[in-house]
Each structure stands twice: as structure tokens, then as C-alpha cells.
């Protein structure tokens, strides 16, 4: 009798390889005759290339040199818009723009050579802030510097202002944040006219890279192959930029006829690749003296950097999440993603939502103070309930009890007693204490019609040994995909966990199950794994070969008779899903995760240092499939969120990151973090595998506002910008 694996902490599939150092990441691989490749960058934020000169005492004839002139196909990274070149040809638009590629077998000489390439650039006026971009100080992209804008409306906002007892206004800012996966980006390419182009690399989305290389080389789809190596963290940072590095390695390989490896060092990875979009949010809200929210006008702007990349979709998620888990009868959200002459910003866990949620959760504390209510009481009076509608008009059909979640989180954090005690004790001494919280929701899967356009596919096949292999392009990047999918498949087939294996994501062998982003892997792709597994079980039962006591034997007998056993599942939207992309109305997401996070802080008034002393993270993510992996997702996300709030600051200088080192870009260490105490409320979701919803991005949303709300209590004044380093707090 098969015992269900759902909710069990089974050992992770690739655990042994990882703890013994046997797991092979991209820099652990070498190919015969392989060259190393490097990128020479513009260093000027905006200008016209006048000439490229190869100087110094360098044997240039030994080098493979690639410029824009060598590109066989289309010189643009295919993503949403095709505005970003692989190699700048005439104009450069940010200081880390790739202009020349070099390859050589001696990587020490290669580094010397990189410094001896002189790119003469006639500078053009550049802009480095979203204010300057909005003011059109220079037009640097399109007609108006705007990559994308949205208008999302509900009710009749203009009618509410006369009815309001209070109108509260505020401005909130968040900074850039580096993903800082510990494995820097890297790729190896083999490319020639005979074999086509193959790349191996550290990446989240094999088919994004595939699409980009098809255009770059102007080759048929079956001539391009993308293989994921073991990947040392992504967090969104390996969603889009790997397409750039893969193209660069492949161009060098194409020209040289040799395998070429490009591995970024830490500084290059930090300064040149994407980071979280800096943002500015202005909120003006109307509220009654009883604390009922009547309406709000929200103006949300993100800095996209020099090219469009994913900014339009980051903006979309940020726009939808700006209203939070509250009932707003009237609402107007205007948002835009604008261009600056900085390296493009991109995906980072949370994808726009942490920015706009930070603003709303700070704003509601200001509303509470204005009205004269406790922050929790104000929220209690405005929470969404089952049957009520979100900012996009989506009716909540799940049983959601936000007041109950809040009560439970407050008990765990001892919120009320601590709040009273800190308030009484904060009058004296140099260490001030505060406790604060944030309540929020996060939609899982692609926004609106995204999943229907994507039409993800997962396949399952029986191996000759009678085991079951899952074929998909979803990538294991640390989150536990292989383990969770094996649990799902084993449960659906009614067989042992150890009988499930996973094919390496390789576009030559696996179907496109979509990108590994948007908290979609477990909920969306996992459901396809479940469907394909049930399909395989039915096939075996129908032919009389299903034997749960000796599954491999049954499979082998089936294969003897029919040669192959393969089942395929394609995404089908849950019933009743409606989305209007022009009005931004309808079912924005299939499901939401809901959470209440509580932070306790100490602020030292001598050094202005903030320390987070305790952190409670309570969430409802549907059914928890694997308690250890799920807690690990939340704890890791909270740690990144604490970094986002008080540690991680990008120092910009003329569009360049000036602190591209782990020495001076500070992420939390084991000595800095509080106990991160994770609690789940389980409420199975009908359309998720085993009842699961998305989980990955949620924990980035809550820490920053919870911490800033706690700091506000500690120091007795509001602060509305992050990162809040000691220098920022004393300023």
C-alpha cells in the first residue's frame, strides 16, 4: 500500500551530490581545447562609438575577437522587445554594455588583454534617476523614456474625496538589490555551422535562452540546444541575463571553432547583470474617521535601466500587488517603467511586488496614526474576505481568514505585550525597541492570461529499467523542484519515491514547461506532473500492467509489448478564469498566498544601527508538500528581505555600481539574522498539486515593511525609504 508522500520531509534528490562536492556546476566542467572568453564593456553611460583599438604588448593574433560585425543573425536579445543588443554597434546606453568579446586559452593573458582594448566613445548626455527620466531631461529611449505604463481603475475614485474624513499622502522608495546567488553566472558554448549551437550553463529558463539564440544565429530551432548545468542559485538573477552570456560564449565559439567558457567573476556579475528595480510610490488615500478605506490614488514608478528587458512584467506584478489584501471600493493605480542609463534592472524574487507592497504597508501605518487607530485595528477593518473583490475586481473564492492569521502571528510574536512594553520603556536609553508587522498577499503563476499563452507541457516516460523519468524545462536552482516533483509523481503513480528520476533540462530532450519564475513551478508545473503521472497510471492499468507492488516489472512488461510508455500533460486554465489585459480587470492570478510577518527590532541611537531581534513569518500557501523545503524557502526569502530593508545598498556613480564586491555590498550573515520562525496555516487549493499554491516569492514581500514599521515605533518617527543603513537613518 502506497503511503502518501505529501507533507513528508523526504530526502532531497540531489542532496548527496551537493554535500559531497560532486554536483557539477558550470565552472566545474571543461571541454577539450576549450578557450576562455571575456567581455569588454563600454564604461561610458551613453555615447557614440568612434573606434575600437587593440593596444599594448599583447599577441593579438592569438586572440579570438568578436564585435557586432561578427553576428550571423539578429543583434538583439530576444525577450519581450528586441531593443537590447548583444554587442553595441554604434551607440552605447549604459556603462556596462558589451562591445567586444575576446577568447584565449590562457585566462591570465586574457585578463591583461581585456585591459588593453580601448573603446573610444563620444559621450552623450545621460540620465541616472527615474525623476530625470520622467521629466524627460533627455530622451534616451523611444519617444518618452517610458517602457510601459498601466492604468488600473476600480469604482469612481474622484467621487470619494469629498466623503473622506481624512486624506493621507505619502511617498515611499526602495533601492536596487543584487540577487547575489553565490555561484556567479557562467556558460560554455560549442558552435559551428556543422553542429549548430549548444550551450551549457547556469540558468533558470532554458527556453528563454533557446529563443534568444535562434534569433542571434538565425538558425532553425532544432539547431540550437540549451542545457542547464547544476545551478548555484538564481532568485530571478538567472532569468534573463543568461541569454546574453550564452550568446557571447556562442559567438566566440562560432568564430573560433572551439568550445568557449565564460565565467563572470563576482564583480562583473554584480555590476553588469540585472538587479531589483529601484522604485518610487506615491499614495494618496481617502479614509473615514472609523478607519474605513474609501479609495486611493497610487502612482508607482520603477527604474528599468537602459533597455526594456522584463520591466513591463515586473511593473505589472507591482501594479496589481500595490493595493494589498484590502477592500478598496475605489482605486486608481497609474504605473510606469522608465529608462535610465544604468544597466537594465530585472527579475528578482518578488518581481515588483516587494516594492509596491512596501509602500502600501508603510502607508497604512500612517493612515492608522492619522485616524487614531492601532495599525492592526485599521487593517482588521479593511481586510479582504471570501466573496469580496481585489483591485482587479477578482472575487476571492478561497476561504481566507486574515484576522485569524494576524491573531496567530501576534500570539507567536507576543506582539501586543511587547508593543506595550517597548512603548513604556522607549523614553530613555540609547537602545530603542520596536515591533511592527505587514500583512500581504502574493499571486502565484503568470499574471492574467500568461499561463494560457504559455501552454506549458510536461512529459513522463518509463525508462528501460522500469523507472519513471520526468521531462520538463523547469529547473532546480536550489528550491527543491526535483524533490517536490518526485513526491507528486510518486504519489500520483502510487509508487516509491526512489523510482522517480528527472531528466536534465535540455531543450533537445525536454518539452517546454515554461520558465522557472513567478512562484509557478510547484503550483502550475507540479499540477502538470500530477496529470501526466495519473495519465501514465491509467495507461498501465488499462493495459493490465500496473503493479504497485512491483512497478518496475510491470513497466518492463509494458515496454516489451508496446516499446514506449510516455504521457504528456498540457496546461489548462481552471474554470471561470477571465482576464482583460487592456483594462487590467479580472482574475489576475489563479491563487494567492496570504501572510502576516512580524519583526522586532532594536535601534542603537549612538551608531544608528538597526538589528532585527526576532522574526515571525506566518503564511497560508495552500497545502505544504514538504515541510523542510517549504520552511527553507520562507527562511531564505525572509533573510533576503531583511537584507533589502537594512543592509543591501547599491552605491551608484554615473550609472555604475561602485560597490560591486561582497566586501562593501553587505548581505546578512549568520551572525546578523534573528531567529526566523516560520508557521504555516494549511488550506488546500483545489487546482494545485496535492493542494499546494506558490511559495517562492512571497517571503520577499513582508520583511521590509514589517521592519520599517518596527523602526518607526522604536524611533518615534516614520521612515519611508529603503535600504535603511545606519548612514540613511542618521541623515
Amino acid at each position: 500500500m502506497h503511503k502518501s508522500l505529501m507533507g513528508q520531509a523526504v530526502p532531497r534528490k540531489e542532496g548527496i551530490e551537493k554535500v559531497t562536492g560532486r554536483a557539477r556546476y558550470i565552472d566545474d566542467l571543461t571541454f577539450p581545447g576549450m578557450l576562455h572568453g571575456v567581455t569588454v564593456r563600454s564604461q561610458v553611460p551613453r555615447g557614440r562609438i568612434l573606434g575600437i583599438f587593440f593596444e599594448g604588448d599583447i599577441p593579438w593574433d592569438e586572440f579570438v575577437i568578436v564585435t557586432a560585425k561578427d553576428i550571423p543573425g539578429h543583434n538583439a536579445v530576444a525577450l519581450i522587445l528586441e531593443d537590447q543588443p548583444y554587442l553595441a554597434d554604434e551607440f552605447v546606453n549604459h556603462p556596462e554594455e558589451a562591445v567586444v568579446l575576446l577568447a584565449h586559452h590562457d585566462r591570465y593573458l586574457l585578463e591583461e588583454a581585456r585591459r588593453q582594448v580601448r573603446i573610444d566613445i563620444e559621450p552623450l548626455p545621460a540620465i541616472f534617476s527615474l525623476e530625470d527620466s520622467l521629466a524627460r531631461k533627455e530622451i534616451i529611449w523611444g519617444e518618452d523614456n517610458v517602457f510601459k505604463s498601466y492604468l488600473m481603475e476600480k469604482g469612481d475614485l474622484d467621487s470619494v474625496w469629498p466623503l473622506a474624513d481624512y486624506v493621507v499622502e505619502g511617498e515611499y522608495r526602495t533601492g536596487a538589490q543584487e540577487q547575489l546567488y553565490i555561484e556567479p553566472n557562467g556558460m560554455i558554448a560549442v558552435a559551428n555551422a556543422h553542429e549548430g549551437v549548444t550551450v551549457w550553463g547556469s540558468l533558470q529558463c532554458p527556453y528563454y535562452v533557446h529563443k534568444a539564440l535562434v534569433k542571434l544565429f538565425d538558425l532553425a530551432e532544432d539547431r540550437i540546444r540549451v542545457v542547464q548545468a547544476e545551478t548555484g542559485g538564481g532568485f530571478g538573477g538567472k532569468e534573463e541575463y543568461p541569454s546574453m552570456i550564452a550568446g557571447h560564449a556562442a559567438l566566440l565559439a562560432w568564430k573560433s571553432g572551439r568550445a568557449v567558457k565564460i565565467i563572470y567573476d563576482r564583480e562583473e556579475d554584480m555590476v553588469a547583470t540585472t538587479k531589483r528595480h529601484p522604485s518610487r510610490t506615491r499614495i494618496k488615500s481617502a479614509v473615514t474617521k472609523e478607519g474605513k478605506l474609501l479609495g486611493a490614488e497610487i502612482d508607482f514608478v520603477i527604474d528599468g535601466g537602459a533597455y526594456a528587458t522584463l520591466s513591463a512584467v515586473v511593473l505589472s506584478r507591482g501594479t496589481i500587488h500595490a493595493a494589498g489584501p484590502y477592500v478598496w471600493p475605489n482605486l486608481r493605480v497609474r504605473s510606469s517603467a522608465v529608462a535610465t542609463n544604468m544597466p537594465p534592472h530585472g527579475a528578482f524574487r518578488g518581481f515588483g511586488a516587494p516594492q509596491s507592497i512596501f509602500a502600501m504597508e508603510r502607508h497604512l501605518n500612517e493612515v492608522a496614526r492619522t485616524v487614531g487607530l492601532e495599525p492592526d485595528e485599521l487593517r482588521r477593518r479593511n481586510f479582504l474576505h471570501e466573496g469580496e473583490s481585489t483591485a482587479t475586481g477578482q472575487i476571492i473564492r478561497e476561504k481566507i481568514d486574515l484576522p485569524g492569521l494576524m491573531d496567530r502571528a501576534f500570539v507567536q510574536a507576543d506582539y501586543h505585550a511587547k508593543r506595550a512594553r517597548f512603548a513604556a520603556e522607549n523614553g530613555s536609553g540609547n537602545i530603542r525597541k520596536g515591533i511592527g508587522f505587514a500583512t500581504f498577499m502574493h499571486g502565484a503563476g503568470f499574471t492574467g492570461s500568461g499561463e494560457r499563452y504559455l501552454k506549458s507541457v510536461v512529459a513522463l516516460e518509463a525508462t528501460p529499467a522500469g523507472r519513471v523519468r520526468i521531462l520538463m524545462s523547469s529547473t532546480e536552482i536550489g528550491q527543491g523542484t526535483k524533490t517536490i516533483f518526485s513526491q507528486i509523481a510518486a504519489d500520483a503513480l502510487g509508487i516509491d519515491y526512489d523510482l522517480i528520476e528527472l531528466a536534465q533540462p535540455d531543450t533537445a530532450n525536454v518539452p517546454n514547461s515554461g520558465p522557472t519564475v513567478a512562484s509557478r513551478t510547484c503550483m502550475i508545473v507540479g499540477k502538470l506532473v500530477e496529470s501526466a503521472s495519473l495519465g501514465m497510471k491509467q495507461t498501465l492499468i488499462g493495459s493490465g500492467f500496473y503493479d504497485p507492488s512491483d512497478f518496475p516489472q510491470g513497466c518492463k512488461l509494458y515496454l516489451e509489448k508496446f516499446a514506449t510508455l510516455k504521457t504528456v500533460a498540457e496546461y489548462q486554465a481552471p474554470p471561470g478564469v477571465f482576464w482583460d489585459d487592456t483594462k487590467y480587470q479580472g482574475e489576475a492570478y489563479g491563487a494567492y498566498a496570504w501572510a502576516v510577518y512580524v519583526a522586532e527590532v532594536s535601534v542603537d541611537l549612538t551608531t544608528y544601527e538597526t538589528h532585527v531581534d526576532d522574526f515571525v513569518a506566518l503564511q497560508e500557501v495552500g497545502r505544504v508538500l514538504h515541510p523542510v523545503l517549504a520552511a527553507g524557502q520562507i527562511e531564505g526569502g525572509v533573510a533576503q528581505g531583511i537584507g533589502f530593508a537594512i543592509y543591501e545598498k547599491v552605491a551608484w556613480k554615473n550609472g555604475r555600481m561602485a560597490n560591486g564586491q561582497m566586501t562593501n555590498y553587505i548581505v546578512p550573515t549568520s551572525a546578523d539574522l534573528p531567529p526566523i520562525r516560520v508557521f504555516f496555516e494549511e488550506n488546500p487549493y483545489t487546482y494545485g498539486p496535492g493542494g499546494a499554491k506558490g511559495i517562492g516569492e512571497l517571503p520577499l514581500d513582508g520583511p521590509a515593511p514589517a521592519i520599517l514599521n518596527a523602526i518607526e515605533m522604536a524611533i518615534g518617527r516614520p521612515v519611508n525609504h529603503i535600504p535603511l543603513t545606519p548612514e540613511d537613518l542618521c541623515a
Binding site: 520531509a9 530526502p11 532531497r12 540531489e14 542532496g15 548527496i16 551530490e17 551537493k18 554535500v19 559531497t20 562536492g21 560532486r22 554536483a23 557539477r24 556546476y25 565552472d27 566545474d28 540577487q179 547575489l180 546567488y181 553565490i182 555561484e183 556567479p184 547544476e230 545551478t231 548555484g232 542559485g233 538564481g234 532568485f235 567573476d265 563576482r266 536552482i477 536550489g478 528550491q479 527543491g480 523542510v628 523545503l629 520552511a631 527553507g632 527562511e635 531564505g636 526569502g637 525572509v638 533573510a639 533576503q640 564586491q661 561582497m662 566586501t663 548581505v667 550573515t669 549568520s670 551572525a671 539574522l673 531567529p675 526566523i676 516560520v678
Partner: protein, 154 residues
Amino acid sequence: MPDTLLRFTVNNEPRSVETLPMKRLLDVLREDLHLTGTKEGCGEGECGACSVMLDGRLVNSCLIPALQVEGCCIQTIEGVANATKLHAIQQSFITNGAAQCGICTPGMVMAALELLNTYPDPTDEQIRNGLAGNICRCTGYMRIFEAVVRAVHP
């Protein structure tokens, strides 16, 4: 600078390599000896992904010139498990979810070994400080603390 012949012990085996004396120990291990379990995360001694034991003490191998290891004993992640069995700390990392993406894991395991060599039954504070030279971006460290505690108190 010409290549120099260096002799030292790695994971209890005598090794000799002819290499640049100022080459980083990290590169000697990875390139000359093909021991790729030791990882490079930052190249400046901040992240600890390249941690190895040098004569029984934890070091960042990206900061050690090859010349310095002449005659020394080095232990890398490849030398932690024996042929048939994981070390208790490795098993505990798996059981307690301390390895997510895994790139910091070899260095973190080495740091945990050093910690347990120094404090056989470490306090929470000793664990936090003992691992503070190794950056993990995935876990938020809580599972790693748990793995260390459970390795001692299964």
C-alpha cells in the same frame, strides 16, 4: 615567474604539482588536481565558498598562494566522507534541508567541521559566529544551524 614544484598532502594523499608559485590554492585544487568540489564565490575571502582545511585550520583557498602550502596537509570537501559513508555533518545537512542550491555547501560543511572541532557541543552563539565567514544566500541559515545542532544531538 617560472613554475615551481610543490609537494603537499591532499585528503591524506601525497600530491605534487608544478605550477606558478603565486597561483591561488583554489585554482591549484580545481585546475591542477581537478578537485572541483571547492567553489569560487567571490575571490576575495568574503563568501567562504572556497573554504578548505590547511593543517587543520579553516582557510579561504582563494587567498592562499600555492607556495604557502608546500609541505602542508589540506583537506577538501572530497575528503570529508569516506568511501562508504557520509560524515555525520553531511548527513545532517541533507536531513535538515541545509543545502539548497548547494554552491556554498562544500565550504559550509568545512566551516561546520572546524566549528565542531573547536566546540564539540556548540552554543547557538558559537554556531552563529563560527559560520559567519560563510555566506549562504538560499537558506537564511536557520536550516544550517539546525543541521549543526542535530549532527551533535541526532
